[in-house]
Symmetry: D2
Amino acid sequence: MGQAGPVGAGGGPRHTVNVAGHEVGRDFVLVAGPCAVESEEQTVGVARRVKAAGAHMLRGGAYKPRTSPHDFQGLGEEGLRILGVARAETGLPIVTEVMDARHIETVLRVADVLQVGSRNMQNFTLLRELGRVDRPVLLKRGMSATVSEWLSAAEYILTGGNEDVILCERGIRTFETCTRNTLDLSVVPVVKEQSPLPVIVDPSHGTGRASIVRPMCLAAVAAGADGLLIEVHPAPSAASSDRDQQLTPDEFTALAPVVLRLVTHLLNGGVQP
Amino acid sequence: MGQAGPVGAGGGPRHTVNVAGHEVGRDFVLVAGPCAVESEEQTVGVARRVKAAGAHMLRGGAYKPRTSPHDFQGLGEEGLRILGVARAETGLPIVTEVMDARHIETVLRVADVLQVGSRNMQNFTLLRELGRVDRPVLLKRGMSATVSEWLSAAEYILTGGNEDVILCERGIRTFETCTRNTLDLSVVPVVKEQSPLPVIVDPSHGTGRASIVRPMCLAAVAAGADGLLIEVHPAPSAASSDRDQQLTPDEFTALAPVVLRLVTHLLNGGVQP
Amino acid sequence: MGQAGPVGAGGGPRHTVNVAGHEVGRDFVLVAGPCAVESEEQTVGVARRVKAAGAHMLRGGAYKPRTSPHDFQGLGEEGLRILGVARAETGLPIVTEVMDARHIETVLRVADVLQVGSRNMQNFTLLRELGRVDRPVLLKRGMSATVSEWLSAAEYILTGGNEDVILCERGIRTFETCTRNTLDLSVVPVVKEQSPLPVIVDPSHGTGRASIVRPMCLAAVAAGADGLLIEVHPAPSAASSDRDQQLTPDEFTALAPVVLRLVTHLLNGGVQP
Amino acid sequence: MGQAGPVGAGGGPRHTVNVAGHEVGRDFVLVAGPCAVESEEQTVGVARRVKAAGAHMLRGGAYKPRTSPHDFQGLGEEGLRILGVARAETGLPIVTEVMDARHIETVLRVADVLQVGSRNMQNFTLLRELGRVDRPVLLKRGMSATVSEWLSAAEYILTGGNEDVILCERGIRTFETCTRNTLDLSVVPVVKEQSPLPVIVDPSHGTGRASIVRPMCLAAVAAGADGLLIEVHPAPSAASSDRDQQLTPDEFTALAPVVLRLVTHLLNGGVQP
């Protein structure tokens, strides 16, 4: 971690989070991968494709928080093993979810970034434990959390001594039904006014609709996001979860350079033609 | 627990949850007590008052989930000790929150009913553990959970083998700001159409406004609620949390008989004058 | 209109609205009838049944605000003629919607109470015109209006010189999908703290679910509502609008006395057994 | 109007709306001006500044829908006269709100585009009348309208014979309070999948927070918006309405070229560095 110059609409000095040499908050970050780890072939295959397309980190869920106990719950430790293989094969750092304080030690064996999911944003005992860990935490906004509550949740980790928190907007719950959630991009500049922490955006969960992930990625970048979290699956319609929102590797490969050029355009002050 | 005849708007046979001889789901239940356990004097004093007024159980938080790490976090194990004293003094069964799977054993030493708070409704590892416990669970609705998600959360406990789940509506998050939450009483009859579980209502959190707790208690009863969870504090304005929504012991003493007579009126089919 | 003693949770003296001798705000009022006027047979038939069951007023839409221009838009002036026949036959005062300032004069020929629908709560030119009319106005809450905005909308009518406004809660828009809207009964006591105007409740639109209209009627009464607006149709499944939420005349006939006895129970201080 | 090639994420051929030679839906459009017309000096002054900075149209309210009847209600016909002067001075086409069917003729004397405000999105009698008018209509999304309801509201105008409808996203009502509304940029690509109509974005009302208008303008453009509606006032803190969200002319002058260069960058496929 370190202190970098302001990016986007921000005010004071910004905190950056070092993940395998990548300074999140200063260097734009593209995190991609499947919603859930389903098999070694699926995960390593996707990892290779997103790496080739320009992704900086691999995401994938081994422990999956699912609404119903009858849904696929993730591969657990076997999923972590597969993520480890994917890292060894591609060199991509791993972002994966931890759902319970008792799993932290196990997840730490493979994760470069520990993700706290939306449903656990106010799991305060989990947050406290993560405050004692020497590894970056990606804290998703709760699906009905205000910015103030989100920053207070981050505060649980920060006051525990772990300053490496990356915030992630992933859509909030509203009356609208044409999208799974309402992606609230205005929080990107608002958070930057109120906090030095990096903030990235997940348009996959934020919209639940693969066909609009591309424009919403660009919109997130233009709003000042420090990175994107994008779900990519070799065959979205056969995925074990979140079928409607995952991109194919080909779609991601087409999208990534457009995103990265927009980042460059904006970093140059948006003044080039 | 047992199977009882339908109460309220329901369909099939209803499940009842036995708490110290009280069959929740058949016998209307009045749970009262302070938001947080603050001292032995405070808790035992309130326990005596609510018992005298007709309450069937004592509620009080030893572990408090708080938005900010800088807020009062509850007395923890000392709080549990105090609740134990209150039970010994009054005979009231204890309803208290468990925030983490690792605390279950400790909380079980004093709790007759384990409460899962709104923020933990989708803490699936906690729910799974409670499925293995031989003690009733009071499952609060998440602040932005649909009925379907709420019943799925209950399913995590039920499929684990613990059938004694009491659901508790506590208000949902909307755009309205004149109340802390929007108390959604329509879920009472909706849940009864879809589940045999008892459902009670917490108008204290559900409104955040002591002045309207009384009419909302009556409304909840009329909607078919199997019970009420009401916050009562000896001096609400000095409370360490939730000052605006707690009743005084005097207010509760005035309210309880009105509630209980309404229950009787409705149980008699509402046909008496 | 007149000043009456407090009803429910209120504070200062309450304003009552005289409708054909019925003092709304003092005397509980039961308004019933079809969502839309479809034919003379349908409307007069329902009017006779709800009158026999104890209703005090007949509701029915001649001008219907519909989401799509391709939906049934109401019978317009022919609908008003039919409502006039129903009044002549039963003596029930008529509550019907006015959607536009230019229709006020026409609607006044038959309406005893002019309804402003949810979608028009902030149609300020319509509200202003109604401020100049010598006829009570029933002002529905906008589907996403705060209490403060709702009372400000009423203020447009009051400051125009028409003091006879009856407020009507009809559910707000939330993320929940098991009901059409979320019926917000807590506004009943909140409005009574902030305004002397009578407030009634529409559980038909408020839930969109006929099977729970009964418990929600009782809940509204217990919350202190000054009356109910209930949709009743001779054959709900064949209705030209809002099929899922209308009661049959038989269901209304069973419900009305239960509601009225609850009113009596509560008026007596809820102290009778 | 005319048919143009697809812009952004859309599907079929897109409809364009001709406003004084500018083809909205094909040519990106920048609409700017004060929330309310307050004086000739204010309005003409702002008009000159936004014209010089690159705006294509002037917005300004003569008739103002205000929550309370005690708030400033707009200058009415005098406001329209001032807008006429501003047009004569700058050549900018005028976008201004019509609140009532009876005002249409008067507003038509000066307006090049008739705006329907959020509160009137479902004022169906107004929409019907606008279907018979030979002038483009800018239809703002209701503050709690779904995309489906919004497109149905547009359908009222289209089926009346007026095909020149421009949709405008302006934020929806959610639980979040750090912004006035939640700007829902995901509707931009969603609307383009479902309708050939142009869609522009109003980040001033959409956020209510001047400090984040700039990033949200860029985000709207990146999401594929066909234009922006931006409030600009010579002295926002002294404005008669919406003080917190209006930009100064200097801020707009700095913003406009950045927006237009982003449009160019994206039109070129986002492939230039």
